[in-house]
Amino acid sequence: MHWSKTLNQKKQAVRVLASLAAGCMMAWGIYRGEAAVVLGKAVNVCLECIGLG
């Protein structure tokens, strides 16, 4: 059906764009040092998580 074909094409386009965006975002985030921020937070007791923060 024409309608569902167009819908599938739109979904396919969203998938491709979202995958590209995801890859670029991860690369940019790592480049600007976000992985180190995550590591720093995760290896210390997070007072907010445990309800004392």
Partner: protein, 301 residues
């Protein structure tokens, strides 16, 4: 005594066997993912955290990074940690990761990988009166995602420009259960500083646990911001459900077995569907199937 015909016996038995084997396969994957996410069980004894390099990577599911056994970071906690940090307003790294996982698997992460999903399924096995959730409550998780995970850590900041992880601080019962209780049990110095905030979080935890015993995956349905993101991505994810509507006899069996109260025939891309496969093996007409969509561009003639 009348004997059932062999073919009828076989058909119903075959269906039952399919359901059991699908559920066993899913449980094995869930347990393996739970084990991989929580490798450092020995840390519970002393109440330390694992401090190795794996913690810079996120778990695809909810597993608190303040849990002594945790190997990976919680994506919701990590998202807030970065966006609340002095130099950043949004975590490209974590958002990109969640987007990538969600585009491929959608909420199948919830059905197969998420450690807290497994915990909730076990809680639901505790004998008690069971209830369905009013559908309106499923929208609460989107409100929590937008305000507590995305906006508050950026908007409510101290004089240094740093924001607190508001979802972790005021809501998350996963953190209280997996991080708070084991760390408070092993650290007397932490117990000394327990205040009103902990009481609030403890009440939320107790209500959540009761909710999970009475309502299947209560936290997933109502409170999980990660499930909200994967739910939105269910609409386009590569792993998806296909429905052959022409074969459907409207018996309602799929709807009846669904733990997430989804009608898969009419809403195969529902944001609530965790792709557990219970409906696919319950359908007597094989109307439903879960698969990765592979759409190769067709060559023009």
């Amino acid at each position: 005594m009348e004997r059932r015909s062999t073919s009828a016996w076989n058909a119903s038995d075959w269906g039952k066997l399919m359901r059991i084997s699908q559920e066993i396969k899913r449980k094995i994957i869930q347990i393996a993912a739970f084990g991989y996410s929580n490798t450092y069980l020995q840390n519970f004894a002393g109440g330390q955290l694992y401090k190795g390099k794996w913690k810079q990577f996120c778990n695809p599911g909810m597993n608190c990074y303040s849990c002594p056994a945790a190997r990976l970071s919680c994506p919701i906690g990590a998202m807030q940690a970065v966006s609340g940090a002095m130099n950043f307003n949004l975590s490209f790294y974590v958002t990109g990761f969640v987007l990538a996982v969600g585009v491929v698997f959608g909420r199948a992460v919830c059905g197969y990988i998420c450690p807290f999903g497994l915990i909730q399924e076990l809680l639901y096995k505790i004998p008690s009166p069971k209830r369905k959730l009013w559908k309106g409550f499923t929208y609460v998780k989107y409100v929590l995602l937008v305000f507590f995970v995305l906006l508050f850590p950026v908007m409510i900041t101290n004089e240094l420009g740093m924001g607190a992880p508001a979802y972790c601080e005021y809501i998350c019962p996963v953190g209280t259960l997996e991080g708070g209780l084991p760390l408070l049990a092993t650290h007397p110095e932490l117990r000394k500083v327990i205040g009103a905030l902990f009481s609030v979080k403890a009440v939320i935890l107790v209500l959540t646990l009761i909710g999970c015993v009475v309502i299947c995956r209560f936290f997933c349905k109502v409170m999980c911001p990660l499930g909200a993101i994967y739910g939105i991505l269910n609409k386009v994810s590569i792993y998806h459900m296909e429905v052959d509507k022409e074969k459907c006899v409207s018996c309602g069996k799929c709807r009846g077995v669904c733990p997430m109260d989804v009608d898969p025939v009419n809403a195969p891309d529902s944001a609530e569907c965790i792709r557990c496969g219970k409906c696919t093996v319950s359908c007597p007409k094989n109307v439903l199937s879960l698969k990765f969509r592979v759409e190769l561009p067709k060559k023009s003639q």
